[in-house]
């Protein structure tokens, strides 16, 4: 085992664990709220400095998220994706493994789902029941593909000591590149100008119910929430979940009780990738209805890191965090359409939130100076 490498990474993981145990739930929420607010204030300041109207910016951000039924549908669609990918990230982070490759696993999973639907649909009769079967098979294919793609960096970390932060990022680039190549070379219909696949048959779609939006379905949101519950139960209520978390943070204790930490790393990555793959299937079926160049996809897999961190890597906390970032995303895109403020600004604000969440010490210090809360340590 790589004692040398792990001493650095281990020390980092230990500190995260200590923080998490030391910080109360209330404190975590306070850190999340203050981080978000601070990032917003800076974002609005940048908007003002760049010569735009900051008030209008904030108003549009809120209106874009919840101002109309179709805006809410769009927000919930983004939130659904962010909750699922957020849980994928949280599983790994919780067990002390940094899976930055959720975006790549998401791309590979969605592609596997697409292949399943496009190859099986012509062989089967058309119909709603067949549609349900196809979607189920597509989900299975996506989960398997996402899990396998995540297992690779897991194996590299466990048995070669390769830093998973870097391998997973490289695998993101490789996933997008290879999927783009396959789409472009083999799956693009002769008439298509862009590297898009054919549309899925109309019966392969999730019904929208209340929102009347073709790219959002309440069932999609329900799948995301069920996944959250399943992951929470797995992590908090099963022996396997207990081993996962202890092997991440207390390797000696885990080893003593007979847990193989290398296998746990691979398992953790695989589970994380399975959830990311499921998110990919949902994106292909619910949002797109076909598949296209992954380089143009939203970066759910990266924003999910922010979602998970804001939720203190707690699977249940991912739900409110996912809703917040879904709202941010929807508001940001609305701003991009209506104001002349570039929507990339919102991505930068998300980055600032992550930066502030990374430094709880900052808030403790601020708390000490202002004697508003803060435990003073």
């Amino acid at each position: 085992m790589s004692d040398a490498e792990s001493s650095g990474v281990r020390a980092v993981a230990d500190r995260i664990a200590d923080r998490m145990l030391a910080a109360s739930v209330l404190e975590r929420i306070a850190i999340a709220v203050v981080s978000t607010t601070l990032a917003f204030v800076i974002g609005a300041g940048i908007v003002a400095v760049a010569g735009y109207d900051a008030g209008e910016f904030v108003y549009s951000l809120v209106y874009g998220a919840v101002g109309s039924l179709s805006n809410v549908a769009f927000m919930l669609r983004q939130s659904t994706m962010l909750i699922l990918t957020g849980v994928a990230v949280a599983v790994a982070f919780r067990a002390g493994v940094f899976n930055i490759g959720v975006q790549g696993q998401f791309v590979v999973g969605g592609f596997a789902a697409t292949l399943t639907i496009l190859f099986l649909a012509p062989l089967l009769p058309a119909g709603v029941a067949v549609g349900v079967v196809l979607m189920a098979l597509a989900a299975v294919a996506a989960v398997v593909a996402g899990g396998a793609y995540a297992a690779l960096p897991g194996v590299m970390k466990a048995y070669a000591g390769a830093n998973e932060v870097i391998t997973t990022i490289m695998l993101n680039f490789i996933a997008s590149g290879v999927v783009y190549f396959l789409l472009d070379a083999y799956l693009r219909p002769p008439s298509a100008a862009a590297p898009n696949t054919e549309q899925f048959p109309a019966y392969v779609d999730l019904p929208g119910f209340a929102f009347g939006s073709p790219s959002f379905s309440v069932i999609g949101l329900a799948i995301a929430l069920l996944t959250v519950v399943a992951v929470y139960v797995l992590m908090a209520r099963t022996g396997f979940g207990y081993d996962l978390v202890t092997s991440g943070y207390q390797e000696p204790a885990a080893k003593y009780s007979g847990v193989d930490p290398n296998r746990m790393v691979v398992s953790t990555m695989t589970i994380s990738g399975m959830v990311a793959g499921l998110a990919g299937a949902l994106f292909a079926v619910m949002v797109l209805g076909y598949y296209s160049d992954p380089n143009t996809f939203p970066t759910f897999g990266f924003d999910a890191i922010a979602v998970s961190l804001l939720a203190a890597n707690n699977p249940l906390g991912v739900v409110p965090a996912g809703l917040l970032f879904g709202g941010l995303d929807a508001g940001g895109q609305y701003i991009g359409f209506t104001l002349d403020v570039p929507s990339e600004l919102v991505d930068g604000v998300i980055g600032l939130i992550v930066l502030f969440v990374a430094a709880p010490e900052l808030f403790r210090t601020a708390g000490r100076y202002t004697s508003l809360g803060g435990d003073g340590e």
């Binding site: 020390a11 990339e344 600004l345």
Partner: protein, 351 residues
């Protein structure tokens, strides 16, 4: 300091290099690739250019990690460097065409501003003990968001208009020397500057008192503290240095050898900051080794042109993946290197 001797051995670089060589050899034998046409002076020239931004960021990151701080935000600093270099060259030129002088101003501005940003980053990491991996990722996200945002504010689109780049400098007489003349004496001054900086970085790290301090800050901060040296001050300097170098690397990409800033997708930096981290790991924290690894990745980056000239036409979407695949192979082979003992641990002098 007792470890000076083993700093010369390549660690696991030697087996790593052998594997890479074996793969190349297998390619020549089985794929019937004419090696002599693949390795040309033009190819080496392009590889040296492609290696330059990676090597600059790698040397900065190497210093930070040697001193005990893992700066995983190199990619973010490179994005800002690429953007700021292009913005300031463009703004400096005013309504006139961008001149060589403007480009040099852009290069310096990018390095200075990225250095200032690294001050803030360093304060968060060192003073406020921010989780280093998470904060580094945040730097990347901030670059991915604010880079294209600032570009849009300045140019009305996420990419800059086409800009000139810094001219080659030809040394009279020496540039006539075959091969070496073209590679080093009729070359981009930035390629030469990077090689010089690499050697200087090696000398400072392994041959000066300050270099020992940097190493001690990462290996045994308590001992350094006992010796009366402020550990965190050393770390501030190296983290700021890493920001300056990554910013410079980014600017080299956009205006040194490239022709402007591209903000689409993951921006024109396109993972080079991450590759830089692998480069110094592969080089076993030795600046010379890190430069060699950067050259390897640079050559991978430019392989597409070579394959085309010898008639093997792989689609660009596949050959563009060579550097990333190379990184994975390198990591699988090199695996862990001996990370400085105190990396990732904040140091509290008070205790």
């Amino acid at each position: 300091m007792t470890r000076l001797g083993d700093l010369f051995d390549g660690g696991r670089v030697l087996p790593g290099s052998l594997v890479v060589l074996a793969i190349a050899l297998a390619a020549f034998l089985f794929a019937d690739v004419p090696g002599s046409e693949l390795v040309t002076v033009g190819a080496l020239e392009r590889a040296l250019q492609a290696a330059t931004p990676i090597a600059l960021a790698a040397i900065g990151g190497l210093y930070a990690e040697k001193s005990g701080v893992f700066n995983i935000g190199l990619e973010g600093f490179m994005i800002f460097g690429a953007l700021l270099g292009a913005v300031s060259a463009w703004v400096t030129s005013g309504s006139d065409p961008v001149t060589q002088g403007d480009l040099w101003i852009g290069l310096v501005t990018a390095a200075v501003v990225c250095g200032l940003m690294a001050v803030v980053f360093a304060v968060l990491l060192i003073r406020y003990e921010a989780e280093q991996i998470v904060a580094g990722l945040a730097m990347w996200f901030i670059g991915l968001g604010f880079g294209p945002f600032i570009a849009t504010v300045v140019w009305g689109g996420v990419s800059s208009p086409s800009l000139p780049n810094i001219d080659n400098v030809a040394v009279p007489i020496l540039s006539e020397v075959p091969v070496l003349g073209r590679l080093f004496f009729d070359a981009s001054p930035l390629v030469i500057l990077t090689i010089v900086l690499t050697v200087v970085a090696w000398v400072v790290l392994f041959r000066t008192r300050y270099g020992y301090w940097v190493q001690a800050a990462g290996e045994n901060p308590e001992a350094l503290d006992t010796a009366g040296v402020d550990v965190n001050r050393v770390r501030y300097v190296t983290v700021i240095f890493s920001g300056v170098m990554a910013g410079l690397g980014g600017a080299v990409l956009s205006i040194g050898i490239g022709s402007g800033f591209t903000g689409t997708g993951v921006t024109m930096v396109d993972g080079r900051g991450w590759i830089a981290i692998v480069a110094y790991l592969f080089g076993n924290y030795n600046p010379l080794g890190a430069y060699g690894a950067s050259l390897l990745f640079g050559a991978m980056d430019m392989l597409q042109i070579q394959l085309q000239t010898i008639g093997i036409s792989l689609p660009g979407s596949i050959t563009g993946l060579f550097p990333y695949v190379a990184v994975l192979v390198v990591l699988a082979v090199v695996g862990y290197t001996r990370v400085p003992a105190a990396v990732g641990e904040p140091y509290d002098e008070g205790d």
